[in-house]
Symmetry: C2
Subunit: 259 residues, 2 copies
């Protein structure tokens, strides 16, 4: 069953349409197909459930009914060299949207949204895209948030590591309203990047950041690096300081905190 939500309440130049599905394999895969086959962008693919949703490194992403599982297909007018900041901006937009529901989160570089009281995962972001020469051809932003879900909707191993907004607030929230709020913050942020104010994104990130100043392990390119997370760069990279003061900059990787 497929429906097309109208642009009602969607005060956005970025997104003109939201395609609504009951069940999909992966919203990112559907978004990519539509971009490549139909050459369109400026839409959101929204599905009540995903049977084969995925996150970073292709990891399976459990997507039971009640969560926000969607993918944005957009083509913002930003320089390819600034794309590294997009995952951070997306995570930040989700954090700000959740704050408007009084849900307090922290961000773990590059793209995890954690519940601030217990560090359990509320959501994550995966950004895919294509840069041809000087042009950003498209971005697909996959967003997964555990919203109106109970923990028993998830597999046993996951239940100890995640939480949902329902678990936190004991209240259901409107997925469409949440999506709309995320779009608003994403659009504001993209406009800042377009107009050369990407430093603002970085400063805002730091207010929500969970790892700067802490001892972490980054796994990048199959090597584990242990050190202190020192800073983020305007390209969305993280700077790790080793014990001897030498610094290594990473543009991607998986972070774990040293407890």
């Amino acid at each position: 069953m497929t429906g097309l939500l109208r642009k009602t309440n969607l005060d956005s130049d970025l997104i003109s349409k939201i395609y609504h599905y009951s069940e999909l394999g992966s919203t990112n895969n559907v978004a990519r197909s539509m971009i490549l086959k139909e050459k369109k962008q400026g839409f959101v693919i929204f599905s009540k459930t995903q049977s084969s949703g995925y996150g970073q490194r292709g990891n399976y992403w459990e997507s039971p009914e009640g969560g926000l599982w969607c993918s944005f297909a957009i083509k913002p007018d930003i320089s390819p060299s600034k794309i590294g900041l997009i995952p951070s901006l997306c995570a930040l937009s989700v954090a700000k949207a959740l704050k408007s529901y009084n849900i307090s989160t922290r961000l773990k570089w590059p793209n995890d949204i954690l519940n601030s009281s217990d560090n359990k995962k509320i959501g994550g972001i995966i950004v895919e895209g294509k840069v041809s020469s000087t042009i950003l051809e498209y971005l697909i932003i996959g967003i997964g948030i555990n919203v109106n879900n109970t923990l028993d909707q998830y597999s046993l191993p996951l239940r100890t590591n995640i939480t949902t907004t329902l678990e936190i607030t004991k209240t259901n929230i409107s997925l469409f309203e949440l999506l709309n709020t995320i779009i608003k913050y994403l659009e504001e942020g993209l406009y800042k990047i377009e107009s050369g104010e990407e430093k603002v994104i970085l400063l805002e990130w730091k207010e929500w950041d969970n790892i700067l100043g802490r001892e972490i392990v980054i796994t990048s390119n199959n090597i584990e690096y242990e050190g202190i997370a020192k800073d983020l760069t305007l390209f969305g990279q993280i700077i790790l300081e080793l014990d001897d003061g030498r610094k290594i900059t990473f543009s991607s990787g998986h972070v774990s905190l040293c407890l």
Copy 2:
């Protein structure tokens, strides 16, 4: 069946033992277990076949009998900041070893060894490891080379993309001798890095390189970037130049050539 090859003909400070197996899941996994459980290094795990060998991004690596499937577990005395050059050094060492059998190869950043006449893949490298503070705790270097194999030992999809040294030279070569030659070149290269001569590795790589100056697509962190491969850095990174002259540096990624 497990045997331990003696250090006969192994003129190496880097490797003191070669553990020889008939069949393993993955030589990298066995090497990692031995490092973590028995706290040893300075050895090679060699297996006639692997049932679940893997390469970059966890991709399944077909390992039929006749090929060189092995993993080095070493702890060279090099600075963590220089580790990015290790994958390049390993690929270079394999290329040099194959040259001693008159097999002419080209290298595709970061770690593919291609037959120079038809660009078909002869082998690949995967480097894993751990850096704690200022110390490189260990490196696991997985090496896979299609040697005394016929193409019908591989799955149909792979047959059009790979070749083997047997296909090229119509002659079998000694896997142990090939391994020994690779160890020699790897050890020479590591010594150069230890002694601050890593620029030599970079210059040597450029003699074997297949992509510098060419139009390529790098997929890094889920984004595809199209541009000209301009240069490699002393940290093993590749520099891509976009059409407007802006440059982006990548420390990891999958490269495809634009034909």
